[in-house]
Symmetry: C2
Subunit: 98 residues, 2 copies
DNA sequence: ATAATATGCAACTTTATGGTTGCATTATGC
DNA sequence: GCATAATGCAACCATAAAGTTGCATATTAT
């Protein structure tokens, strides 16, 4: 999932999808071909970050906020774990002298 | 930065760095060479997710929680932006005048 | 029905990434 | 001082990722 987020083009797409743009519209703003954009969208889809919503001949995608929250949760865990370690380290340094 | 997070090995490292392990120790738990681990750590460092703390002949890394918070912030922005869009969409569907 | 629009599919190229091996360098312990 | 331990550095390989071109398919509008 972070891998899916780890491409500037896909970040850009994610932040613009919400407006309900079609693939072609999304591609218009970028210096790459429509096909390349489609591939990026498929990557986001595989990571469950977006969901396809086809209507007639055009396709739009919707973001899945739950997934974003999940990512945030993981970052929180690590940050917190690290804070805990920091606390322990600090206590260790201040307490015992090595 | 998300690209740096987008590798399972690096996620693993990030979650274990806090314990104050050296490169060799970190590598011991993984099925890849120490050199490969070093490269991953450099990637995390370039993304400002960790910071080098060399002491004598061994090197440890510390996590930079501020960076994690920054990532979370971005996720929040997108999620919120999307929630907003959802709200507008919903209002539109329900026939609200706005 | 036809033309135009929106997208899908597939082959191919280029470049980035992850991993390895081999050897050099720096610090520690005795 | 010397052996050992912890890293760093560089060349090299394999695979995956990003992008392109060309063509097929499916909707919509006239």
């Amino acid at each position: 999932m972070f891998a899916a987020l780890g491409d500037p083009v896909r970040l850009n797409l994610l932040s613009r999808i919400g407006d309900g743009r079609s693939i072609t519209e999304l591609a218009a703003g970028l210096p790459i071909t429509r096909q390349a954009v489609t591939r990026h969208l498929r990557v986001l889809e595989r990571a469950k970050l977006v969901e396809e919503r086809r209507r007639g001949r055009e396709t739009r995608f919707v973001v899945r906020p739950a997934r974003l929250r999940q990512a945030k949760g993981w970052l929180d865990d690590v940050a917190q774990q690290w804070d805990g370690t920091l606390g322990r380290l600090k206590a260790h340094i201040e307490g015992a002298r090595r």
